[in-house]
């Protein structure tokens, strides 16, 4: 799937990242919906504290903030 941000940043993310790396979509910050100024409305995050593999360049490029579009590719 292709994930895009408000500023048109876009990156391809395999759907399997959810299973393999525990990727998840964040939509609240401290119990409140995230504004654009707080990198909202959505942010694709990974559990970075699990190890080096979760902080690799590839993972970091997939961690898209101010996410507003997800296009699932065939």
């Amino acid at each position: 799937m292709t994930v895009s941000a408000l500023n048109d940043y876009s990156v391809a993310v395999p759907v399997s990242d959810g299973d393999d790396f525990g990727a998840m979509l964040a939509y609240h910050l401290n119990g409140a919906p995230m504004s654009v100024r707080d990198k909202g409305p959505l942010w694709l995050v990974y559990p970075y504290d699990r190890g080096r593999d979760y902080r690799s360049e590839t993972i970091l490029t997939r961690s898209v903030w101010q996410l507003d579009r997800i296009e699932v590719l065939p």
């Binding site: 500023n7 654009v36 100024r37 970091l60 903030w65 101010q66």
Partner: protein, 838 residues
């Protein structure tokens, strides 16, 4: 028995090996440590390199640059949105201004709180710019959050602010990039240094590994070379062992066979596999423990198949390190031993043949001599017959030829006797002057027949009685003179005699002729047997060629020398030197005055006629000891002559004498002369009645039966004895003790020795009967023995002798083998008395 191995040596050896090992061991440790250190260094450097690479590849600087670039882009997007909203009245444009501001604001906020941007926030150059930018962005918040109208009104101001924000963002980005470039350069420089160290360490490691590889390679080559040398040496040894003609057997310390070569297989007729595990004792039948630990030995060896052969073993111990072994070289010497035995047998056969030949020669010569003597005797009788002149000549030639033949036979007999070692030298005292006269007398007719002059040259003084072997001397001189006369056609032959000037005990004889001489080439062998020189010299005189050889042998046997000087046509001169010391009897032979015999007041002049030397000596010494003067005659003839010229007070007359017996001599003395009226005392070993009758007829006053004892002698000389037919010694007297009393111990012992030796000799001469002796000679011998026996009181022996004499006379035959054996037995029994070793 095995000696313990030399422990101390082994220990020393091990210590030496350990000492040699220590540096190698230490070197190896150092090399390993160095390699480990280099490896550790490489590991540390590699790890550091990985860390630095991580730094270099770290996301920080790149993401910072990225973020700052995005920040600038978002600022530009915010300014563009602002400019677009001023140109469009559409409220949508204002919404886009707000979104662009929010995006830009969120990025700026990240810059202000993000961990990655702390350096950015706190570094002097950028800190103020960042803080200033953030303050101005926050100041815009009320304007953005106001309603559309207010926002639209503020758009120009907002556009200026957005422009300013974009400028600030660019400044931050440029400053940060410059700073990061410096940091990146530092990182690279450190990386290069680390890489250099790593490369250096790798280089060192490679060099070290190369060194190790080289050392290993050298070690490998050396080992291979040594292995090759060992193999070559071992192959050479193997070849030597296999081509050796001697069996080589190597045994371990338990005596089991370890090595066995080709020759050993051949000698023991075994295969290699049969030998495996066999013990030395099973192989050879020898116990290794009984053999020397090293050295050579000849012994007999029993093969496993039972065959025994003579072998020579050479044993040695190889104590190389822990594997003690015995090496045995074994050689089959059966052939050699057989050859030696064969050689010995051949030599013995040859010697036996040689002896048989000599014996045959001796027997033949002897057998030939007997009939020849018969012939010569008949010829002599023939000469006495009246013969015509012609026949007389024939007989003369026959006799001459017979004599020559006899001479040759005697030569050969003498030679074979010498060869057989039967060369007796009988030393006695004899008158040398008389002997020389006799020899010349014998040789004179021959010389005169040949027309030669025979001359004698000798000192004016008599040579006197000497001690030596007269028979041998006579033989030598006769041979030399015979030779000279035979080979000298004309001129003279001279015999010169003188005491040796250097050695007074020796006498020189020179036989000189004027013959053809001897060629120089023949001088060396002139004394060899069967040497005859060219016939031209004396065509008619040929000999056996033995004369000079015999002469030389005899001279050597007597302790003398013989030599020759000669030149062709200058005659020859033979020199003979013999030890002939003056006889002791001449100078100091008389025994010292004897004790035990009282001397008489009126010394008498006495004559002793006795042929037996010992008896004569005994009687003489007894009489002299009594103070009388004694003259001696060795036979009847001499006795008669002395009695005619000298007046004797009394005459002792032996009855049994050669030439002229005592009875006849007594009759001749009574017939006239100075001592015609002197009392005559007959001496006899036996007084037969018919003899006593003969004594009376010969006017013999008294008959004294031997042995003569001092007491009886004194009675006779004192005149107290009446004329009696016979006086016997007093019964029960010990003759030997009597002799000792009269003559003393030393003289008696010497006399007894002479008596025993003489009897031994005479008996031996009679032989054992295998060759019957001449009857007359035998009786004479027995008579002599009986005479001596009486003097020594050997009664049994004397009786045996007298019985044999009577038997010989009655049968007119020589003693037979049985008789001789009886005599020998009687003599041995008698001999015991004198305690003389056989």
């Amino acid at each position: 028995m095995r000696a313990p191995p030399p422990v101390s040596d082994t220990a020393r050896e091990r210590a030496r090996l350990r000492a040699a090992d220590r540096p190698r061991w230490a070197r190896r440790l150092v090399a390993v440590a160095a390699l480990a250190a280099v490896a550790v260094a490489i590991a540390v450097l590699a790890r550091s390199l990985v860390a630095k690479l991580d730094d270099l590849a770290g996301t920080d600087s790149e993401s910072v640059t990225w973020t700052l670039t995005q920040q600038e882009i978002e600022a530009q997007k915010f300014r563009v949105a602002t400019l677009a909203a001023r140109l469009s009245p559409d409220p949508q444009a204002l919404a886009e201004v707000r979104t662009a501001f929010d995006i830009y604001y969120s990025r700026h906020k990240t810059l202000m709180i993000g961990r990655n941007f702390r350096t950015l926030r706190e570094t002097d150059v950028t800190a103020d710019v960042v803080a200033n930018s953030w303050e101005k962005a926050q100041a815009l918040l009320p304007t953005i959050d106001a309603d559309d109208a207010a926002l639209r009104a503020a758009l120009p101001e907002l556009a200026r602010a957005a422009d300013e924000q974009a400028g600030l963002a660019r400044t931050i980005a440029l400053e940060t990039i410059a700073r990061l470039a410096v940091i990146s350069d530092n990182h690279r420089s450190r990386l290069r240094t680390t890489l250099s160290y790593l490369g250096l360490a790798a280089l060192v490691l490679v060099l070290m590994l190369t060194g190790v590889a080289t050392a290993l390679d050298r070690l490998y080559r050396k080992t291979r070379q040594q292995a090759h040398e060992v193999r070559v040496a071992s192959e050479r040894l193997e070849t030597i062992a296999q081509t050796s003609l001697d069996a080589i057997v190597v045994l371990d310390r338990n005596g089991e066979i370890v090595e066995f070569n080709e020759a050993a297989r051949r000698i023991f007729a075994l295969q290699r596999q049969q030998v495996a595990g066999m013990r030395f004792s099973e192989l050879t039948g020898l116990d290794l423990g009984e053999l020397p630990r090293s050295g050579r030995i000849e012994t007999r060896v029993r093969r496993p198949d039972g065959e025994v052969f003579a072998a020579e073993l050479s044993i040695s111990q190889a104590d190389a390190h822990a594997t003690a072994a015995t090496v045995v070289f074994l050689r089959n010497i059966a052939d050699r031993a057989a050859a030696e035995a064969e050689l010995l047998r051949a030599r013995d056969d040859a010697l036996a043949g040689e002896r048989a030949k000599a014996r045959f020669l001796a027997v033949m010569s002897h057998e030939m001599r007997t009939p020849l003597n018969g012939l010569l005797g008949m010829i002599e009788l023939l000469r006495a017959e009246k013969l015509g002149r012609k026949l007389r000549n024939y007989v003369g030639v026959m006799e001459a030829s017979g004599r020559i033949l006899l001479h040759h036979i005697n030569d050969v007999l003498e030679l074979s006797r010498n060869e057989a070692g039967e060369q007796h030298v009988a030393v006695t005292e004899f008158d040398l002057d008389l002997l020389i006269d006799e020899i010349l007398g014998l040789q004179l007719p021959l010389a005169e027949n040949s027309g030669l002059t025979l001359r004698l040259e000798k000192p004016a003084a008599r040579l006197g009685t000497v001690s030596g072997d007269p028979m041998r001397l006579r033989q030598i001189l006769l041979n030399l003179l015979d030779n000279a006369v035979k080979f000298t056609p004309s001129g003279e032959v001279t015999l010169a005699i003188a005491r040796n000037t250097d050695d007074v005990r020796a006498v020189d004889f020179h036989v000189t002729d004027t013959g053809p001489g001897i060629p120089a080439a023949a001088l060396d062998r002139i004394f060899d047997d069967f040497v005859t020189l060219g016939a031209s010299a004396a065509p008619t005189a040929r000999g056996t060629g033995l004369g000079l050889g015999i002469a030389r042998r005899l001279a050597m046997a007597l302790g003398g020398t013989i030599s020759v000087e000669s030149a062709e046509n200058r005659g020859s001169q033979f020199h003979l030197t013999l030890p002939l010391p003056p006889a002791s009897g001449d100078a100091d032979g008389r025994l010292a005055p004897l004790a035990g015999l009282d001397t008489v007041s009126n010394p008498l002049e006495l004559l002793v006629v006795e042929d037996n030397r010992i008896n004569r000596f005994v009687l003489r010494e007894m009489l002299i000891a009594m103070g009388h003067t004694v003259r001696e005659a060795v036979d009847g003839r001499e006795g008669v002559d002395l009695a005619r010229d000298t007046l004797f007070d009394l005459i002792f007359m032996d009855i049994s004498m050669p030439n002229l017996d005592g009875v006849t001599a007594s009759r001749l003395i009574r017939a006239g002369g100075a001592s015609a009226r002197a009392p005559i005392v007959a001496l006899t070993a036996h007084a037969f009645p018919e003899e006593l009758n003969a004594f009376r007829q010969a006017r013999i006053d008294t008959c004294l039966t031997k042995p003569v004892d001092g007491k009886t002698l004194r009675r006779i000389l004192a005149g107290t004895v009446e004329a009696a037919p016979a006086i016997s010694p007093e019964p029960g007297q010990d003759t030997l003790a009597e002799l000792r009393d009269s003559l003393g111990d030393g003289a008696t012992t010497a006399l007894v020795r002479r008596f025993v030796e003489e009897a031994d000799l005479e008996l031996a001469r009679l032989g054992d009967g295998s060759r019957p002796p001449d009857a007359e000679m035998a009786v004479a011998t027995l008579h002599r023995l009986a005479g001596s026996a009486a003097t020594f009181g050997a009664e049994g022996w004397g009786n045996a002798l007298r019985a044999e004499i009577a038997r010989c006379r009655s049968t007119n035959a020589a003693p037979q083998a049985g008789d001789l054996a009886r005599l020998a037995e009687a003599w041995q029994a008698e001999r015991q008395r004198y305690h003389f070793p056989a």
